[in-house]
């Protein structure tokens, strides 16, 4: 279609959406709106994952990020009763400088990556990369130790969060 394959179309749309929603995240006043836009961004990125044939990861991405983490954010926002009016803004100077720095960073990154060669993503349709089975095998064979440590990490985070959230015993 129009000289581009469907993959490329999808890529373009998804990218555009992702970037747009990301910008909205940064520039919205209302924190709740911010959260919603971020969820949308996550969906776009999940779409990207699917394009890359990372099926398992796409699903996990949505479940963990959009399902758990964002919910957590929403809870906290509700808890603190944040409204658009109550948030003070950074000074215009600061925002300008932040934007400027962002622009410079972009320029530098582009410049750095300019010399990189164009590499086609090499794959076949029947690539097993991204399949649950393959990932499972790698995870439990080569990365068993980090896997176990990650569980310890989650335990630690849980305990820490609870400890921090407790009210001080006066």
């Amino acid at each position: 279609m129009l000289g581009y394959s469907i993959t490329q179309w999808l890529f373009g749309i998804l990218s555009f959406l992702a970037i747009m929603f990301a910008l909205m995240v940064v520039f919205t006043r209302n924190p709740v709106n911010s959260v919603l836009y971020l969820v949308m961004t996550f969906f776009c990125i999940a779409g990207h994952y699917l394009l890359l044939n990372a099926q398992f990861l796409a699903v996990v991405h949505i479940v963990v990020y959009a399902g758990a983490i964002m919910v957590l954010f929403l809870f906290v926002i509700m808890l603190m009763n944040l409204n658009e009016d109550t948030e003070p803004q950074k000074t215009m100077v600061t925002k300008l400088i932040a934007g400027l720095i962002g622009g410079v960073l972009l320029a530098v990154m582009v410049g750095v990556l300019k010399g990189a060669e164009q590499m086609q993503l090499a794959q076949s349709g029947a690539s097993q990369i991204g399949m649950v089975k393959t990932l499972g095998v790698v995870l439990f064979k080569d990365f068993l130790f980090p896997f176990e440590i990650a569980s310890v990490l989650l335990l630690g985070a849980m305990v820490g969060a609870i400890m921090l959230g407790k009210k001080e015993i006066k």
Partner: protein
């Protein structure tokens, strides 16, 4: 589907998302928004990792993303807990008020 998109595009996309996240961190005073922008940055990196994993036909990249997600979850949990504590103390989540590190 055969993905024929050159890797450079993914790199560029990832970079843009990352920078947007960075700008958000610098430009917003609301701590929650700052956290969210940090998540955005993490996701940009995740995307890049997956793209390279597909490029090199190596599942290690995706496994790494897996772990990053786990860590991000843990981090969010703890970070928000801290934020609640701060809110309890100063009744606001404006990060500019947290200037006890001055001088």
């Amino acid at each position: 589907m055969i993905n024929t998109i050159p890797i450079n595009y993914y790199i560029f996309l990832s970079a843009v998302l990352f920078i947007i996240g960075a700008v958000g961190v610098m430009a917003r005073r609301n701590a929650i928004i700052v956290f969210m922008c940090i998540e955005l940055m993490l996701n940009a990196v995740n995307l890049l990792l997956v793209a390279f994993s597909t490029l090199h036909n190596d599942p290690s990249g995706q496994v790494f993303v897996f772990f990053i997600m786990a860590v991000a979850a843990a981090e969010v949990a703890v970070g928000l807990a801290i934020l609640s504590m701060v809110y309890r103390n100063i009744k606001s989540i404006d990060i500019d008020l947290l200037s006890k590190l001055k001088n």
